[in-house]
C-alpha cells in the first residue's frame, strides 16, 4: 500500500525522458508552454507574493502620478457642478459629448475580462489561465470608471436619484421606456455579476495568501478568504459555481453593450438610427477591451517580473484574437457606411460628407489605427510575440476605438435634419481634464489592486499544469491534455 502511493509523483515532477532527442523536445516545450513548465506550487506562489510586495520607486511614482490625475478629475468635476455644464464645449445640437463617449469606451474595455475568463473557460481555451484575473480586473475598474460618467454628464447630479426606482409618496417611477433605464439595469447587473464571478475565483488564491503572510495582510486575506480550506467538496462547488456563472455572465455581457448601442440606435438622430449598432458595438467593445488587456499584461510582466506566468504564447494567442476582432470591426464599419451611402438619405448624407470633410483627419486616423496597423502587424508571429510592437499596436487600437466613439457621439450630433441647427463641436479644457483623469483613475485603482490581490490566478495555473502532460507517439513528443470532466 505504502509503496504504491510512493509511485504517485506530484504533477510538477514530470519524468525526464531517457531518449536525448525527446529530452531536448521536452525542454523546448517547457520553454514554450507554461502549463508544461510546472514548478512546485510553493515556488510559483512565492513569485506572486513577492511581486505583490514589490513597492519600489517606480510603483510610488506611478501611484503618485495617477493619483494626481484622480485629484484633477475630482477637482474639475467639482468645478463643473459648481458653475454648470456651460464650462464644457457642448452646444444646443451637440448635447452629448466626450462624457458619453467615455461611458461607451470604458464599458467597452470592460468586456474583454468577461470574455477571456468566462467564454474562453467554457471553450476550454487553456491559454487564458494565467491572464484571466488581470482581464477581470480591467472589467471591474473599467465599469467603475464608466459608472462615473452618467453622474458627470447630467445637468443636476444631486437629483440623480430620480432615475432610481425608489418608492415615493407620489408613486413616481422612472420611465422604463427609456433606453437609459435599460442601460442602468444592464450595467448594474453586469457589475454585480462580474464582481461575484471574480470573487469566487479569488477565494483559493486569497487563502493561499492568507497562509503565507503575516500582519495586516494576513488579517485582510483571512477575512476575504471566507475560511477556504481547499477540501474536495469546496473545489467541486467552486468548479460548479464558476461554470454556472460563466454561462450566466456571457449573455449579460452581450446585453450590456447592445443596450449601450440602443442609447443611440433607438434615437431618430441620423447616423445613430441603425439596426447594426448592437453587434457593431460589441465587436468594438471586445476589440478595445482585448487591446487594453494586452497592454496591462505587458506592463504587469515587465514591472512585476511575471515572465514565468506571462509568456510569448499568451501574447501570441491574444494577438491572433485581436486581429480577428479588427477584421470583424472593419466588416461592420464597412457595412454600416456602404448601406448608408447607397441609401442616400439627405440627413445621413450630411454626416457622410462631414466624415470625408471636416472630420476627415479623425476618420482616417481611426481607420489607420483600427484596421491598417493591427492587420498590418498582427499577421506576423514575430510582431505578436514582441512586447514593444504589441504595446504600440494596442495603443493604436485604443486611440482608434476612442476616436470611433467621438465620431459617433459629438461628431454625428453636429449634423441633423434641419441644416439651420448644424453646429460643430470642439472639446473644452474641462472635458479633456476629466477624460484624462478617468484614465488616471482606472490606472490608479489597478496599480493599488495589483499590490493587494494576486493578479495571476494561481490555482487555475496549477490546475492546468496538473492536467497537461506529454506523450510519445512514435518518434515524436506531443502534448496531451486530460479533461477534468
Amino acid at each position: 500500500m505504502l509503496e504504491s502511493r510512493a509511485e504517485v509523483r506530484p504533477y510538477w515532477e514530470k519524468p525526464i525522458p531517457e531518449d536525448e532527442e525527446h529530452a531536448h523536445q521536452l525542454e523546448h516545450f517547457r520553454e514554450e508552454d507554461l502549463l508544461l513548465d510546472a514548478i512546485p506550487p510553493s515556488e510559483s506562489s512565492a513569485i506572486i507574493l513577492n511581486s505583490m510586495k514589490s513597492t519600489g520607486l517606480g510603483f510610488w511614482m506611478a501611484a503618485g502620478f495617477t493619483g494626481a490625475l484622480v485629484a484633477l478629475l475630482m477637482g474639475t468635476w467639482g468645478l463643473q457642478i459648481f458653475s454648470g455644464l456651460g464650462i464644457t464645449g457642448l452646444n444646443r445640437s451637440v448635447m452629448w459629448g466626450p462624457y458619453i463617449a467615455n461611458l461607451v469606451f470604458f464599458i467597452g474595455i470592460g468586456h474583454a475580462g468577461t470574455f477571456i475568463s468566462a467564454a474562453l473557460r467554457l471553450m476550454h481555451m487553456d491559454f487564458r489561465r494565467p491572464i484571466s484575473r488581470a482581464a477581470e480586473t480591467v472589467t471591474l475598474f473599467g465599469l467603475a470608471a464608466a459608472g462615473l460618467f452618467p453622474l458627470i454628464h447630467v445637468g443636476r447630479v444631486w437629483k440623480i436619484f430620480y432615475m432610481f426606482p425608489i418608492p415615493d409618496e407620489r408613486r413616481l417611477w422612472p420611465n422604463f421606456r427609456s433606453p437609459l433605464l435599460w442601460d442602468a439595469t444592464a450595467i448594474t447587473t453586469y457589475i454585480l455579476g462580474s464582481t461575484l464571478f471574480m470573487y469566487a475565483g479569488l477565494l483559493p488564491d486569497l487563502a493561499m495568501a492568507r497562509d503565507h503572510t503575516t500582519g495586516w495582510r494576513h488579517q485582510l486575506y483571512k477575512a476575504l478568504a471566507l475560511g477556504w480550506r481547499g477540501s474536495l467538496g469546496e473545489w467541486l462547488r467552486l468548479e460548479k459555481l464558476a461554470n454556472i456563472l460563466s454561462y450566466v455572465i456571457i449573455p449579460v455581457m452581450f446585453s450590456v453593450h447592445t443596450i449601450v448601442a440602443y442609447d443611440f440606435a433607438m434615437a431618430v438622430q441620423p447616423g445613430w438610427h441603425s439596426t447594426i449598432f448592437g453587434p457593431f458595438f460589441i465587436a468594438g467593445a471586445l476589440f478595445s477591451g482585448v487591446a487594453a488587456v494586452i497592454m496591462v499584461l505587458i506592463i504587469l510582466r515587465k514591472t512585476m517580473r511575471l515572465g514565468y506566468f506571462l509568456r510569448e504564447q499568451h501574447f501570441n494567442s491574444l494577438g491572433i484574437f485581436l486581429m480577428l476582432l479588427s477584421i470583424i470591426w472593419g466588416y461592420f464599419y464597412f457595412n454600416e457606411w456602404i448601406v448608408t451611402w447607397y441609401g442616400n438619405l439627405s440627413a445621413e448624407q450630411a454626416i457622410l460628407n462631414m466624415l470625408t470633410g471636416q472630420l476627415s483627419p479623425l476618420f482616417y486616423l481611426m481607420l489607420v489605427c483600427n484596421v491598417a496597423i493591427p492587420l498590418g502587424g498582427l499577421w506576423s508571429r514575430r510582431v505578436r510575440t514582441s512586447m514593444p510592437a504589441m504595446f504600440v499596436i494596442c495603443l493604436a487600437v485604443q486611440i482608434g476605438m476612442y476616436l470611433e466613439r467621438i465620431l459617433i457621439v459629438p461628431g454625428f450630433l453636429s449634423r441633423n435634419e434641419l441644416p439651420f441647427n448644424w453646429v460643430n463641436y470642439t472639446p473644452h479644457l474641462p472635458e479633456i481634464l476629466i477624460t484624462l483623469g478617468t484614465f488616471g483613475l482606472l490606472s490608479f485603482l489597478y496599480i493599488l489592486w495589483t499590490r493587494i490581490i494576486p493578479i495571476v490566478p494561481l490555482w487555475e495555473v496549477h490546475e492546468g499544469q496538473a492536467f497537461q502532460s506529454t506523450r510519445r507517439v512514435g518518434r515524436g513528443l506531443f502534448t496531451t491534455h486530460t479533461d477534468m470532466h
Binding site: S83, L85, L90, P150, G155, R156, V157, I160, N175
Partner: protein
C-alpha cells in the same frame, strides 16, 4: 377640419410662411413672456442660442436671383413625440388632456437625451444659471417658473395662458371660446402669420383654415405627428 372631441383640446398652430417676413417680433415676445434666458453674443457663437421660437432663415438660388425663406420653428407639440419615451424620469411627458408635450422642470435631471432625440432641435439646456441684465431682471413674468441650471426647457404653447383662460372660463361658467387663448408669439406677430386655436372646436379659426391646399408639416416623414401646420410660401424675391 375639426376633429371629434369628447373632452380636452387639441391645441394647434398654423404658420403661414407667405405672411412671415422674418421680423422676429415673435421671438422677442416669447422671451418676455416665458422668462427665456438671454444668451450672450459669445454663447451664441458657441452654438448656445436659446430661443423657444426661432426664425430659421434659408437662402435659395444664386445671386442676383436670391430668395430668403423664413421658417419660424418652435416645439411642434408632437402627437408621437420622440423626446418623451427617452426621458428616464418622465420630465418630458404627454398631457393627454391638452394634447401637449409638457416639460416638468423640477423633475428633469439633465440627461439631455430628449434634446438629442428631438429632430426639430427646439429643446434647450440651461448651461448656466440664467441671469438677466438690469432692467430685464425686474420684468420677469411671475406666471412662469425661472428655470435653474442643468434642466431642459422648450416652448409650451404658453401653457400658463391656456390655464388662465380655462380657469376664467370655468369661473364664468362657460366653455372656452376661440380666441380666449393667444400665445405670446401669435399675439405679437404683426402680419398674422401665426394662428392659434383648438382643432377640436369646429368653429375655431384653425379648424376653418384647415385643411389648406398649401399645408405641410415639418419633417412629417419622421412620423412625429406635429400639431403645427405650415402653409407653403409663394416666391418672394428679395430685391424685386
Amino acid at each position: 377640419m375639426a376633429e371629434t372631441n369628447e373632452h380636452g383640446h387639441k391645441w394647434t398652430m398654423i404658420v403661414d410662411l407667405d405672411k412671415c417676413n422674418g421680423c422676429n417680433a415673435c421671438v422677442v415676445a416669447c422671451h418676455a413672456e416665458n422668462n427665456v434666458p438671454i444668451a450672450s453674443e459669445e454663447e451664441v457663437i458657441r452654438g448656445r442660442g436659446n430661443h423657444w421660437i426661432r426664425i430659421e432663415r434659408y437662402w435659395e438660388g444664386e445671386y442676383p436671383d436670391v430668395q430668403a425663406r423664413f421658417i419660424p420653428v418652435f416645439c411642434q407639440q408632437c402627437g408621437s413625440a420622440p423626446c418623451e419615451p427617452v426621458c428616464p424620469t418622465y420630465a418630458s411627458y404627454h398631457s393627454t388632456e391638452q394634447n401637449l408635450n409638457v416639460q416638468v422642470y423640477n423633475r428633469c435631471v439633465g440627461t439631455r437625451y430628449c434634446g438629442n432625440n428631438c429632430p426639430y432641435k427646439v429643446r434647450f439646456f440651461n448651461w448656466w444659471t440664467p441671469e438677466w441684465d438690469s432692467p430685464l431682471n425686474e420684468q420677469l413674468n411671475p406666471d412662469v417658473t425661472v428655470r435653474s441650471a442643468g434642466v431642459m426647457e422648450k416652448c409650451t404653447f404658453c401653457i400658463q395662458r391656456i390655464r388662465r383662460a380655462e380657469n376664467d372660463a370655468t369661473a364664468d361658467g362657460r366653455e372656452l371660446r376661440d380666441g380666449d387663448v393667444q400665445p405670446a408669439c401669435a399675439q405679437a406677430c404683426p402680419s398674422r402669420a401665426l394662428v392659434f386655436g383648438d382643432l377640436y372646436d369646429p368653429e375655431s379659426q384653425v379648424s376653418e383654415r384647415l385643411p389648406a391646399e398649401r399645408q405641410f408639416k415639418l419633417l412629417e416623414n419622421l412620423g412625429t405627428e406635429p400639431a403645427v401646420y405650415y402653409l407653403k410660401g409663394e416666391d418672394t424675391h428679395v430685391g424685386e
